[in-house]
Symmetry: C2
Subunit: 294 residues, 2 copies
């Protein structure tokens, strides 16, 4: 079996994460058991939620354990399979983590999904046609319930979620105002400023608040606007809405496959570059989806 | 026609309102035109929303004009009628304002409504079986969508809205935790504290934020909890949901009429006492619904 370079979380950050929090180690890939599949990763996804997992505090999921492979979405190719539904050469998306290979229990529902790369480059299944795209879809369709002619605002508009949000909203005949720049703009002062300019009965879908991910306080200046403008502010986690995924992925795949939505990407070269690329993501240095080529 | 003592707003408060903002004047009651009704008020309702109307800033309604009768809900008895649907002696609820009599264009929908005082004392149509009760009903039923067995928290629990909320929630088999005391507790630190203790997927119905009605900043300390706990925070104004009123008033009337809900009241004696009673309301000095006996 091949050698498997991988990145572990070895300590928890106090504020901004640093390179010391991570360690590159290389282990043997174990022999496959029955129903298991060996995947060679082509790209690793970097996402803001990973910052939350590095903490040991209450959040919507369990913390990332220390001294084990960092969690992360991956796309790649099946190298060897002992599961009847997968064969060598299959292109797949899964949660392989920050490593070169993963051994997947393919019988567990949702662990591994085959993707068709005929019209969609494989890395986009981590972005526009993946979790970030479905996040945008759920916020737009389920929380905001956008209708043609409405004006919508999205912060971090050049990121993976924001750009998919813009494409999906335009496809529905909405006007979209994107907020972007090389500084942090999700939550904090940008949210305060947007709230001051919202129409009555407006809705805010909250899928992230990177502005506070390093522990900075991010108070909301004027919560009374929620009353005065009869607003709805709702948070959600896309993984808790599995029923939306097929519908959202179908629409996003069609938008990308047809060329109507051309997602941008920032590609970091090689697994060892993942920590630095992740720090950049938290500071908004990426344009479009941040991935790591493995 | 009788003399009509009334209270005008003559200046706008800068922070806390004071007696100087009001003036008691006495005018003649004009002769009735066709379709008009003359009502002698028995009780005037005092409500926190009135503080917002005293300002000249953007809110969900137009400001109270200066040098005219302060807006307010009233219950009373028809003295004289030139409208076929009303007769002298009818008990009615309306928006008569801070005055002893009002002349009502009874053809305008929603201006005047007859009430049955057989089982419900007339003043309760300003509280438990009136606007505050319907406010509680809408928050509980439409925003929170309460179900039996759930635990709910209500701030200003001894007030008109809070006590109705408790009665309605108990009737649905919910556990209700009320927050009350002689200090301000709607919005501000109490909201922050409640948010820290909420369950995942909890909802907050925002029908008022008295804590900031005098212009004090009331930031929300931890808006990121909306994401982490996948919460919904929604503001509403009960007057914008006319379809709910008949259903809510029927349920509230039955609860009060049957004795299952015995609303408390604080009654201020005489129209001239309205300003001081209103200042007390904003500081939580009332227990139950604050009314003024006219």
């Amino acid at each position: 079996m091949p050698q498997n370079p991988q990145i572990h979380l070895v300590s928890r950050p106090n504020g901004e994460p640093t390179a010391d929090n991570f360690k590159l180690v290389t282990l043997d890939t174990p022999a496959l058991q029955d129903k298991q599949v060996l995947v060679r990763h082509a790209f690793l996804s970097l996402d803001p939620y990973m910052r939350g997992r590095m903490n040991d505090t209450k959040s919507y999921t369990v913390p990332q354990p220390l001294n084990s492979v960092m969690i992360g979405g991956t796309v790649g190719e099946v190298v060897e399979s002992r599961h009847p539904k997968f064969a060598a050469g299959d292109k797949v998306v899964g949660m392989g983590g920050w490593q070169t290979y993963s051994v997947v229990d393919a019988d567990t529902p949702g662990m591994l999904r085959k993707v068709d790369t005929t019209h969609v480059p494989i890395s986009h299944f981590l972005g526009a046609v993946g979790m970030p795209g479905v996040t945008a879809w759920h916020g737009l369709v389920r929380i905001i319930e956008a209708k043609a002619g409405q004006t919508l605002t999205v912060s971090a508009a050049s990121g993976a979620v924001g750009s998919a949000f813009g494409a999906l909203a335009k496809a529905r005949g909405c006007r979209v105002v994107g907020i972007a720049g090389h500084f942090e703009n999700v939550g904090g002062m940008v949210l305060d400023a947007v709230m001051l300019r919202m129409n009555h009965f407006g809705s805010i879908a909250v899928c992230g608040m990177i502005a506070g991910y390093n522990g900075e306080p991010i108070p909301l200046a004027n919560p009374s606007l929620i009353l005065v403008n009869r607003m709805k502010v709702q948070g959600f986690i896309v993984s808790e809405h599995p029923d939306d995924w097929p519908l959202a992925l179908q629409e996003l795949g069609a938008l990308v496959g047809s060329g109507k939505f051309r997602p941008r990407e920032t590609v970091a070269p090689g697994l060892a570059s993942a920590p630095e690329a992740f720090f950049g993501l938290l500071k908004g240095k990426n344009f479009g989806k941040q991935v790591v080529q493995i």
